[in-house]
Amino acid sequence: MGLDENRLLEAADVFIEEAGRLGLEFADARLQARVYRLVVYDDDGVREASIIRGIGIGVRVTGPGIGYASSSSLDRASIRRALEEAARAAARTSGGDLVRDAAKAVARSRFTKDPLDASTEDLVEVARLAWEASRVRGVVSSTAAVGVEADLRVYVSSLGGLVVVESRLVGLRVRAVARGRTGLAPVGDSWSRVAGWEFISSGDWEARAREVGELAVAASNARSPEPGRYSVVLDYDLVGILLHEALGHAAEGDDVVAGNSVIAGRLGEVIAPEYVTIVDDGRHPDGFYVPYDDEGVEKTETVVVEKGVLRGYLTGRVEAAQLGVKPTGNGRVQDFSKPVLVRQTNFYMKPGDWDDDEIIRETRDGILATYRGGRGGQTDPGSGTFTFSLGVSWRIRRGELVEPLRGLVAAGSILDLLGSIDAVGKNVVVRTSVFGGCGKYGQLVRVGDGGPRVRTVLSVGGEKG
C-alpha cells in the first residue's frame, strides 16, 4: 500500500526536460502521492471505512505573471500539456517575481510501525473500543474515528531544486452527545501525532474516550454565561486556536502584501506586552511535519512577535520578493492541484513564568476556557475581527472554579486581545490533527498550534437571560 517515490522522481526528471524544451524563464512543480484511511464507528457500527488515494503533479510557470496547471497523470504528454497551460496562464497575468534559489534535501518523519501496514480490522477495533468507552451514563449518541495519512511530496524546480518530504500522521477522534438538564450537548476531542501506528496501539484511548463522554454529560447539565466581556483564562489548546485565528492569518504574507491585514506595515511596533513571544515552526515535535514547505524552502522557526514587538511575517517565494526578505518557508498547498498560498505551520506562543494554577488563583472573576468540545474559529484579517468556539469551560470566582459552562462563542479584535494578555504560563502544549486543518481560499492544510495557559479579555456570547 506504499507511496511510489520512484514514480514521482521519474516524473520530476520529465518535468525538468519538458520545462527546458519549452524554454521557460522559471518553472517549478509539486508532485505528490498520498493515502488517507478513515474508519468511523458510531451507534450503527462501522459508518464509514474508506481508503483515498491521490497522485499527480502541479506546475507553476512565471513570465510575466504566474500560471498554474495540474495533472493527475504523470506521463510525458500530460506534464508537457500542464506546462503549456501554465505558461499560457502566466502570459496573461502579471507580477511573477519570486525569490529564486535551489535547495536539495530529503526529510522523512519518524515512525516504528508504518500505519499503512495496519489492517482495516486494526483500525475498526480501536474505533470500536473508543466508541464503547465513551458511552457513559447520560450519553445518547457517540462516534469514534481513526485516521491515517501518508503523504509524500516532491518539489522540483528549473533551477535544480529538489526536496522530498515524507510524513505519516495518525489520530483518534471521539464525539459524544449527552442529554441533561440544559438539553443536548455535543463534546468532542481528538489526539493526533506525526508518528506511526505505535502511537495508536500504545495509547489509553478508552480512558480518554470515557472522559469525553463524562464531559458531554457535564456540559448537558451546565448553563451558558450571561453574554459580556470577561477576563478569560485560555487553556493551552484554546490558546493555539486563538493565536492561529487572531494573529496567524493576519501574519500571512499574501494578505499583508495586499494590505488586507491589520498588522500590515507595522513591523517594529509593540503589539503585545513584553512577555509575549509567538513563533511559527515547521519542525515542532508535537505539531505537524513541515521541514520544508511546498516551494522547497526550509521551514525553521520564524519569530513573528518577540517580547511584544512585531518582528516578521510569514512568506512564500512570491511575498518574500515583494517584501524584499528571505522566504520563511510558509508557501504551502493542500495538494498538487492547487496554487501556492501562504499558510501557517505550527504557530504557538512561547512560555512565560506563571504557574498554571497560579493564573486561576489570581483571577477574581472570569472564565477558564478549554477547547474540549470547541469546534474551531475564523478570522477576518482585514477588519481585525476573529471568533472561535470555546469548549466546556468553568466560571471562576475569587480564584476558584465554581461551576461548568457550555457552548460559548468568543470574539474580539486581534490587537485588543494581544494587548490585554496579562499572564502567560510556563507549560506549552502544541497539537495537530489528522481530521482537519486550516481552510483558506478553498484549500485545507494540516497545521499545529498551541501555547501556554494565558489570561486576556474577550467578549463571550451566551444565551439571552
Binding site: 504566474i66 498554474y68 453574554p227 451566551g462
Partner: protein, 443 residues
C-alpha cells in the same frame, strides 16, 4: 456519458471479480479556471481538470467499503474497486443497509450554464481586473479580487441497474476585499450557477462602499437586542444552526432536537420550511440526489408543524418518509441526509427593509459575519460574530458596529421573527430579511 461507459463497466466488473456482491461508482469530473488578483498588480491564474471517483463495494449482505481518489482516468479506478472490496471484507455489516439504488432516475432541472464552460483564463483575468477597478473608482483600494469558473458533470452507476445517470453543472464565483485604509477592509463574494458578470461587479461596488464603514465601526454594549439579519446573514445562520437538525441520520442518532417530534409544533405557525432541489439554476438544485433518487420537493415544516425529515434510503427505511435527500460530502463518502435548497418562509412578510427597521425601533442590523458555522444544531444554539453591522435608532439605520457576538436559540429566533423584502437564495438557503430578538455580547 457514453464516453465513460466503458470505464465504468471495467470498474464495476473489477469489483465483482474481487468478490463484491454489488458495487456503485460515483464520479465528479470538472474543468475549472481560477484567477486571483492582489493589489500591486500581482495576478495568479490556474487551470484544473480533475476526475474524482468513489467506488463503494458491498460483500455478503451489508458489509460496505469505499475507496476513492483523484485519478487520471477510469483505468486507475479499477485498483480502487479492488481496494473497496478489501475494506468491505474487514468490517461488520452496516446496520440498516438497504443496498444500492435499484432504480436510479432523474428529474428535470437546469443547473448548468454553457457560458461558464466557455469562460477561460483571459475572461477571468479581465473580470478580476474589472472588479478591482470598480472598487478603485469608488475611491477605495482593491486589496484582492478573485474569479472562479467551474464546469463539470456528476455521474452515478451501480450493479443493480443498467441505467447510468448524470448531469452537467456550472459554478461561477467571485470575491473581493476592498480596503478603505487603517483596518477598514470589507470582503464579499457571490457564487452562482449562471455566468453573471454584472452581479459580480455590483458586489464589488457594494464592498467598496461598505469598506469605509468598517474602520469607523465600534463595539456596542452587551444586552438583548432587536436584530435585523440580511438574507445572506440569515441564510448562513440557518444553514448551520437549523438545517442539520432535519437530517434523518441526526434524528436516529439522538443528535437532533427534532427527534420524535413529527406532527408536533416545533416553530410558530408563521413558519413553513421546504426543501426544493428543483429551483431553476439555484446553488443546491440537482436532478437526482447522491443515491440516484430523482429529486422532488419536500415540505419539512408546514405552519410550524414538523412534517418530514431529510432522508437517505437507509434512514427512510428506519424512520418512514421519502428518501431523496442524500448527499456525499466527497465523492468517496457514503451518503448522508442534507438539504438541497432550504426555503424558509414566513406567512405574512412585511414589504420592505424600511418597514422592518421601523418595527425594530432600536437595535442592530447585521450586514456580514464570520463564525456562523460554530453554531450548534444539536442544541439549537445559534451564534455569529459581526464583522460589519449598523445600529438601528428610531427606526433608521445609523452608525457602524463590529466585533460583537450575536447569539440565541434558533427556534425561538425564527418563531418570533418578522420577515420582510424579497426571498434571496444564498448557498442553498433561501430566505428574506429577518427581525429577531437575540443576545449581543459586546462591552
Amino acid at each position: 456519458m457514453s464516453d465513460l461507459q466503458a470505464g465504468i463497466d471495467s470498474v464495476v466488473r473489477a469489483a465483482l471479480r474481487a468478490g463484491a456482491r454489488a458495487a456503485e461508482v460515483y464520479i465528479v469530473e470538472s474543468v475549472s479556471v481560477s484567477v486571483h488578483y492582489f493589489a500591486g498588480g500581482h495576478i495568479r491564474a490556474s487551470t484544473d481538470k480533475l476526475l474524482k471517483v468513489g467506488v463503494a463495494a458491498e460483500v455478503e449482505g451489508g458489509k460496505v467499503g469505499v475507496a476513492g481518489g483523484v485519478v487520471a482516468s477510469l483505468d486507475d479506478a479499477v485498483a480502487l474497486a479492488e481496494e473497496a472490496v478489501s475494506v468491505a471484507r474487514a468490517v461488520k455489516p452496516l446496520e440498516g443497509w438497504q443496498g444500492f439504488n435499484p432504480n436510479p432516475s432523474q428529474a428535470s432541472v437546469r443547473v448548468a450554464d454553457g457560458r461558464v464552460r466557455e469562460f477561460g483564463i483571459a475572461e477571468a483575468v479581465e473580470l478580476a481586473k474589472r472588479l478591482a477597478s470598480t472598487i478603485n473608482e469608488v475611491g477605495v483600494r482593491a486589496a484582492e479580487s478573485g474569479v472562479d469558473a467551474a464546469y463539470g458533470r456528476v455521474i452515478l452507476a451501480n450493479t443493480e441497474s443498467s441505467r447510468v445517470i448524470g448531469y452537467e453543472y456550472s459554478l461561477f464565483s467571485a470575491h473581493v476585499d476592498a480596503d478603505a485604509g487603517e483596518g477598514s477592509v470589507y470582503g464579499d463574494w457571490v457564487a452562482l450557477r449562471r455566468l453573471d458578470v454584472e452581479a459580480a461587479l455590483r458586489m464589488a461596488e457594494n464592498a467598496a462602499r461598505r469598506a469605509r464603514d468598517v474602520g469607523r465601526a465600534s463595539i456596542v454594549d452587551s444586552g438583548v437586542y432587536n436584530v435585523i439579519l440580511t438574507p445572506k446573514v440569515a441564510a448562513d445562520l440557518l444553514a448551520y444552526a437549523l438545517a442539520p437538525a432535519f437530517s434523518g441520520e441526526a434524528v436516529i442518532k439522538n443528535r437532533s432536537p427534532l427527534a420524535g417530534r413529527l406532527g408536533e409544533t416545533v416553530l410558530s405557525g408563521e413558519v413553513t420550511i421546504i426543501d426544493d432541489p428543483l429551483l431553476d439554476m439555484e446553488y443546491g438544485s440537482r436532478p437526482f440526489d447522491d443515491e440516484g433518487v430523482a429529486s422532488a420537493r419536500k415540505v419539512l415544516v408546514k405552519d410550524g408543524v414538523l412534517k418530514a425529515y431529510l432522508n437517505t434510503r437507509m434512514t427512510s427505511a428506519r424512520l418512514g418518509g421519502e428518501p431523496g435527500n442524500a448527499e456525499r460530502r466527497t465523492p468517496w463518502s457514503l451518503p448522508s441526509p442534507a438539504p438541497s435548497n432550504l426555503v424558509v418562509e414566513h406567512a405574512h412578510p412585511l414589504r420592505s427593509l424600511d418597514e422592518l427597521a421601523s418595527e425594530a425601533g432600536s437595535g442592530l442590523l447585521v450586514d456580514s459575519t464570520i463564525g456562523a458555522w460554530l453554531s450548534d444544531p444539536v442544541s439549537g444554539k445559534a451564534s455569529m460574530t459581526v464583522t460589519l453591522g449598523y445600529k438601528v435608532e428610531g427606526g433608521e439605520i445609523a452608525g457602524p458596529v463590529k466585533g460583537v457576538v450575536v447569539s440565541g436559540n434558533i427556534y425561538d429566533m425564527l418563531s418570533d421573527a418578522a420577515a420582510a423584502g424579497d426571498v434571496e437564495c444564498w448557498f442553498g438557503v433561501c430566505t428574506r430579511h429577518m427581525l429577531v430578538r437575540a443576545s449581543v455580547a459586546g462591552k
